[in-house]
């Protein structure tokens, strides 16, 4: 236990130090609240608006998770199809790559129009499109970048394509998929909040930040940003935890006794 504390102590000290300097700087140089509120004001705003912040944070998280699920499932289906059937690869891959070059966030107003500005689905779709490509391409890489010797081994057993897929390609792809999910966790929250800036229900992080900023209540906006960061980190950690349980054999999860 003391070892653990020792490990996190430097980072904690830096964190506290930065907050302290920030507070001191704001006071010493008389920086205006609307430019940079001191941490104490942000903390006060956080406490004061705690219930509302929790609500908007949860609503945005639902959009992010929903979008990640929609985009992730679509990405997995397309990647599996492309890896399994060469014809699917020729038909779909060019579009998938072309779609990646599109600045997806530009679609946000269109999604609002399609699914309704107050409907969380419009934000989910932005997130879904945003996370589709990284998940699809990483999954595809994992399914196809298989050790040649493994394939020969399976061939020597006269294994069917289906068996090779289930026993070699899919397990091989799992670490790639989790890598993509970890990236997408952060991405999904960015997507959701930016999509909310284009309009949406009042009770979401993006709209909360816009409104509070418009009324010069910057401490509240900053408190919302703290919530957004915390939600993003939590989302990432949850996926990390699932990864540790799902693929304990992977190099990233191996327990090395070096303390």
């Amino acid at each position: 236990m003391t070892k653990r504390i020792g490990r996190y102590l430097p980072a904690a000290l830096v964190f506290v130090g930065v907050l302290g300097l920030w507070e001191l700087a704001v006071r010493a140089f008389g920086i205006q609240q609307f430019l940079l509120p001191p941490p104490s004001s942000i903390a006060a705003a956080f406490v004061e608006h705690f219930d509302e912040l929790m609500t908007v944070g949860r609503n945005t998280l639902v959009e992010a998770v929903g979008g990640l699920v929609i985009g992730g499932v679509a990405a997995l289906v397309v990647a599996f199809a492309i890896a399994r059937w060469a014809s699917a690869s020729r038909a779909l891959l060019p579009f998938a790559i072309a779609a990646n070059s599109v600045p997806i966030i530009a679609f946000a107003p269109i999604m609002n129009n399609w699914f309704g500005i107050l409907n969380p689905l419009s934000k989910m779709m932005v997130v879904a499109v945003l996370v589709f490509f990284p998940i699809m391409i990483n999954t595809l890489r994992g399914l196809t970048l298989v050790d040649q010797a493994s394939l020969e081994l399976m061939r020597s057993y006269a294994a069917s394509e289906r068996a090779i897929f289930a026993k070699v390609r899919v397990p091989n792809a799992l670490p790639y998929i989790f890598t993509a999910l970890k990236v997408s966790a952060t991405l999904s929250l960015i997507g959701a909040i930016v999509a909310e800036y284009f309009g949406g229900a009042r009770s979401v992080l993006g709209q909360f930040i816009i409104t509070e900023a418009a009324f010069f209540r910057f401490a509240n906006a900053w408190a919302a940003i703290v919530v957004a960061s915390a939600v993003s980190i939590a989302f990432f950690l949850i996926i990390l935890a699932i990864e540790r349980v799902a693929i304990p054999w992977h190099a990233s999860a191996r327990i090395v006794d070096s303390s």
């Binding site: 493994s150 020969e152 399976m154 020597s156 057993y157 006269a158 397990p171 054999w249 190099a251 191996r254």
Partner: protein, 268 residues
């Protein structure tokens, strides 16, 4: 010979097409009797691995025929007559040792109930009892290769094909695994084809050593090694053991002066 398990006749293998054509193997004839332990030895690029892969139907000959157990090599592969061991262990990280050994049994959907017992018995054969639940990365290189051998034998293949299986191991581990392999071979009676570039290893293990030349790959001579069985550490100090090593070495060195047809004369 009617009891030949493998019969290679007039096989050529050419890689590439057009101007890039490289002949890898030329007029290969080879008969492997049942229960034999045949080593393929030769310099790099002599096509010994290619010949092994041809027998295992992992690549196709450009000319000639390969018969295995009276069937085509392809039929034999589909019938799961081959156990393969490569230079790298090729174990799956996501499977335990036990799971890796069970893999071919799963693929062939054979013996569902006895699968776990069978895998355990195989691990006992390679002296890895107690490591069933470990993951491959928790084992040393030599142990990983023993798992690969257990896996190759788990479904009782008619032929064991080994492509420099101990090439990446240190000398001491290699010698120990040689002894172990011989014990397993004695115990199971599996016909074995073994690719190596180590002359002492070939002589120590084999009942027959097929000496090959490079570019194009040909079999110069098949030398029967009639050292007494079972072989052990004493074999390595036997006068005749060194005699065979010398003979294989000379044959490898003299590859330019010997015509392929003259092989039998030199052998006697």
């Amino acid at each position: 010979m009617t009891d030949s398990v493998v019969r290679v006749r007039g096989v050529d293998k050419v890689f590439g097409i057009g101007a890039d054509k490289t002949p890898a193997l030329q007029s290969i004839d080879l008969e492997i009797p049942k229960g034999a332990f045949v080593s393929l030895i030769g310099p790099s690029g002599c096509g010994k691995s290619t010949l092994l892969r041809l027998i295992g139907d992992l690549t196709q000959p450009s000319a000639g025929t390969i018969e295995v157990n009276g069937k085509t090599a392809h039929r034999a592969r589909v019938d799961r007559d081959y156990g393969m061991v490569f230079q790298a262990p090729v174990l799956f990280d996501w499977r335990t040792v036990q799971g890796n050994v069970e893999l071919p049994l799963e693929v062939s959907a054979k013996d569902r109930a006895g699968r776990a017992d069978r895998a355990r018995a195989m691990l006992a054969l390679v002296e890895l009892s107690g490591f069933e639940r470990r993951y491959p990365w928790q084992l040393s290189g030599g142990m990983q290769q023993r798992v690969a051998i257990a896996r190759a034998l788990s479904f009782e293949p008619a032929i064991l094909l080994m492509d420099e299986p101990f090439g990446a191991l240190d000398e001491m581990t290699r010698e120990r695994l040689n002894l172990e392999l011989l014990r397993i071979w004695k115990q199971t009676g599996t016909t074995t084809v073994f690719v190596t570039h180590s002359i002492p290893e070939a002589v120590f293990l084999s009942t027959h050593v097929a000496v090959m030349s490079a570019r194009p790959g040909r079999i110069l001579e098949v030398i029967p090694v009639d050292l007494p069985q079972p072989r052990n550490d004493l074999t390595r100090e036997d006068e005749r053991y060194f005699g065979f090593i010398k003979r294989v070495r000379e044959r490898l060195r003299g590859r330019d002066v010997v015509r392929p047809g003259a092989a039998e004369v030199a052998a006697s």
